[in-house]
Amino acid sequence: MTALTSLTLAQARDALRRKEFSALELADAHLAAIEKARALNAFVLETADHARDMARTADDRLAKGQAGPLEGLPLGIKDLFCTRGIRTTACSHILDNFVPDYESTVTANLWRDGAVLLGKLNNDEFAMGSSNETSFFGPVVSPWRRAGANTKLVPGGSSGGSAAAVAAHLCVGATGTDTGGSIRQPAAFCGIVGLKPTYGRCSRWGIVAFASSLDQAGPFGRSVRDCAILLRSMAGGDPKDTTCADLPVPDYEQAIGASVKGKRIGIPKEYRMPGMAAEIDSLWQRGAQWLKEAGAETIEISLPHTRYALPAYYIVAPAEASSNLARYDGVRYGLRLPGADVTDMYKQTRAAGFGKEVRRRIMIGTYVLSAGYYEAYYLQAQKVRTLIKRDFETCFASGIDAILTPTAPSAAFAIGEKGRADPIEMYLNDVFTVTVNMAGLPGISVPSGLDAEGLPLGLQLIGRPFDETTLFSLGAVIEQAAGHFAPKPWW
């Protein structure tokens, strides 16, 4: 780590405005860090020349006093966001030569505000995974290691490259997407902050679709403030996404340091799962204590349908995925294999182009949507989803401002350790995060401590719809109390 890569996004922003260094120097420092960190496999595409061009433009605008809110700040972008003229693959073989001629709305917003693209970040194929092991480009290696061991650990997923790159100081911030926990769980595993905004807060236009009623883009940062700064630029209405809300975007950074006195924090009893690790439970209690010390009130609440969220998710998400991924047919873009006829061409192309986990989810989704099973599975799951959302609505209506839970049931595990024999073992990682997507709510994961082996653990705060502001205020309280956690560089 050099002086320039040690800065948070907010510190780098302020230093650029004070002309302590140039955007080009900042970009170069990060490009050098990326080159040194190839063992992490966090980036699937480095765009050094493009980064330097963008940094030079940023320096011009800084010199002329025309700096945007993110002017000159070097970011990594999850490879699920389409970037004009720059290969975008969703880390799938079926798209590994795809170069879009358009820019996702979220990334366009970032460039509008002056940010610099360092490269595209690794993720689970089509964002389907909780460990970044399903990527066509191979797994990401976490910058974290257990104390005294060199076992390679997962960074979490699906936004594993984003979390690893931010934790390893390869970029000042990154984008991710979260369908069932894909921002919050890797943020927790890597000891950084990650936020999934309210459904509709950020445009989904130009993001490779997984499950359209659940997908949402969000920021990663090494501080709560950094995430607040990024979200302000990423969020906002978009005529190209009919599900994107036309609501004004607050200056989220103002929420940092705001008083949380009198805030009512719900502690859902159903999240205290049987067999929960003692250190997760004590971390949770410590988090509640920190909020109380800052003047908030904690109240036990009940979200009775919690245990049904994960099974309902594993109907809704694969169903939507099987429909969304029908577009990969070897005709308009992507991989194509020859076949005896057009149907065989589709079948051969999709069998070769999709990885195992993606094929599995397409099969499940196709089955639950097929004639005779639609009502028993898909319709039932959508009704259960209504009940899951109602649980949250009832709590918020009773005056709860936010809900505190652990982010994940454990710290990071080793590459190859989970899900080989039983895919459901991997799915259980999302047990605390998936409810939030099912209900369309905002959730933030804030690093809160280390486990006995020295690995980071996170706490999740869940907010009312479009009340990310309260999450930033509460998150900043936890961050202040818990401190920061950084991996010891070994790469």
Partner: protein, 95 residues
């Protein structure tokens, strides 16, 4: 509910994914494990519960019905594996 080998073949065909005969048994096991996992949803009382259609209450946005884009044929076929002029090429469909 559990699926048999024939159902696996049918679902794979519907999903347009080629599956080799020696993969069927494994896929059958995976599908059944997933179905067993989601089985618990059947116990939830959903009487008079509407299925969710939109996670946030919102009015569908509409736009004026005008052509506001176009002339981008080159872009549209640029990533296609096989094209001729501005057409996508596929294996012969009609004899």
């Amino acid at each position: 509910m559990s699926v048999d080998a024939e159902t696996v073949r049918r679902v794979a065909h519907l999903a347009r994914v080629a599956v080799a005969e020696d993969e069927i048994e494994h896929l059958r096991g995976e599908l059944n494990a997933m179905l067993a996992f989601v089985e618990q949803l059947a116990e939830v009382d959903v009487k008079n519960v509407e299925p969710m259609t939109s996670v946030t209450p919102m009015a569908m946005k509409k736009r004026v019905d005008i052509v506001d884009d176009g002339g981008i044929g080159d872009y549209i076929v640029k990533n296609a594996p096989a094209t001729e002029d501005h057409f996508f090429l596929v294996p012969k469909v009609v004899e």
